[in-house]
Symmetry: C2
Subunit: 320 residues, 2 copies
């Protein structure tokens, strides 16, 4: 719980700690530290940035859960269902502020120049993430039904890949070398990897077990999220089915009944949309591995490089 | 609309511009620029910080309106009622990110050291504001009914005074002089001034005219906000009335019916709670003026000093 403030008024820092205290993967922090070490740096150099990453992530989760109307996170009820939307918005903001504070504290170990480079990277990451979130929320708001796979991948790049994969590795390399990183291959590695990760997440939302996954199953369907499988279904179904889908998806999520969710599931099965998404995820993971090998060609073999490349197998094999 | 991004996905930067495009006072930006000039700086030195202040303020408003369930802002419907909670959270976040970006762009005109000082001030301001917001939301969540005037003033210091008055003046002085400001009197001036401002805001919420005020009248009563007048009423009313009030205020805001709001209003009138708050506001304004004169004693007379001191008369006289 390093880097988390204490004291202050009730229902603030105690709740900032709530999500981080639940069992989680810590994937982004681990990637950042492994990347720093792989590029010749030490754990200590990456520590603040890794902590900040997990804080940004947890702040996003608090806001996301409210935005998606999710009921469960990491096996327990979401913050906004327990404390209401007002407190959840504030706690998400306080979590992000704590992330910023942690990055500002980098000065002592990294010096002002590298500290500033990491701040610039964080600002860029936040911009990508908010834009990705806007794209996804906009599709639901506008009831977009004419999307293509490349739209999904573009959204994914911004919403998921940048902050969960590209940014952690870039920051790891920056704090290790003190230089801005210009590795297009590392970005591409993170993009493919993140897309495979997101598709697996969307699959778990439909097929996972609550015990491991920790979120309610079918949440994406209730919310009308434009997942790769839904986009596939909208492309493949008959004109009549598409008209029905448009009406169902256009309804406010509260009115998206169990009957509608069951109908959506039947159609996804009829058109093998889950299998399609699974295949895409595996292809992306394969492409990620090739890009990863190339991006890390000059990095000496060792535990950190192995960990980074090992995330490829992890993201498609995971059940949580 | 300087400093506002364009392009990007729909329902993001277009909505970041929505509140700033509505008619507003621009009070915080004006105070920051006046303070910079009063302390010997130029408008150009304060411009980015002033823009950032208005952006932070507008980001808070977007989130506040959602948190308070408000219907109107600056005479038009609030963002979350038009676009839903999900998009409003994202737009508030993007507005804050844009504020941060604007502060990070200070480097060119202020140099790295002063830029960093202003970032530190902003981080501090955000912390006070989020803590103040947590205090106020916590009182509603916990149905606090045993509050004292000093609790209100403490909450006000953090929720309102710091970001609307103390921070703008401190930052103005910092960008002008390049030095961290240690003026306890300036802080006290901003505190008294901000408290008078907030009390006037709470009065306008009960007695104002929608046309000028731009927000729905009685919104605070519906929301159960612990205003100075409500705290006064809870201290003065009979034991039986207090028990009734506790039940009424404990009800979820949707259940706080028009009948209950009318009963609250009757009790506020019975115990002269509005007049009490009005008197407190005037006393605070008087104290602010005394502190302001002392804090700005070494500042040469002129338009900027006059503007800063003139805010005292403005905050208690305003109808919007």
């Amino acid at each position: 719980m390093r880097g988390l403030p204490s004291g202050g008024p009730p229902h603030l820092y105690d709740l900032v700690k709530a999500y981080p205290a639940r069992d989680s993967k810590g994937l982004r922090a681990a990637l950042c530290i492994a990347s720093c070490r792989a590029f010749g740096g030490s754990t200590a150099q990456a520590l603040n940035s890794a902590v900040a990453l997990e804080l940004f992530h947890n702040g996003f989760l608090v806001h996301d859960d409210l935005q998606d109307g999710s009921l469960f996170r990491r096996g327990e009820s979401t913050l906004h269902t327990r404390y209401g939307n007002a407190i959840a918005v504030n706690v998400g903001n306080a979590t992000h502020l704590q992330a910023l504070r942690t990055l500002m504290d980098n000065g002592e170990i990294l010096g002002p120049r590298t500290t500033w480079l990491v701040m610039e990277e964080a600002e860029r990451m936040l911009r990508h993430t908010l834009e990705g979130q806007a794209i996804e929320l906009g599709w639901i708001f506008d009831n977009a039904c004419e999307l293509r796979d490349r739209d999904y991948l573009q959204m994914c790049l911004k919403k998921t890949c940048w902050y969960s994969f590209i940014h952690p590795m870039r920051v790891g390399a920056i704090v290790a070398t003190g230089a801005r990183l210009d590795s297009e291959r590392l970005c591409r590695f993170g993009w493919y990897l993140g897309a495979a990760f997101q598709i697996q997440d969307d699959l778990l939302n439909l097929e996972g077990h609550f015990q491991a996954y920790g979120k309610e199953i079918d949440g994406d369907l209730v919310e009308g999220k434009r997942t790769l499988m839904l986009i596939h279904l909208l492309q493949k179904c008959s004109r009549r089915e598409k008209a029905q889908l448009r009406t169902m998806l256009g309804a406010a999520s509260a009115r998206r009944s169990a009957t509608n969710v069951a109908r959506l599931r039947r159609l996804l099965k009829k058109y093998d949309s889950l299998d399609y998404a699974r295949r895409c995820g595996r292809q992306l993971a394969g492409a990620a591995f090739v890009e990863g090998l190339a991006a890390l060609r000059d990095v000496p073999d060792g535990a950190d490089k192995a960990f980074i490349l090992g995330t490829v197998a992890f993201v498609v094999g995971r059940d949580r």
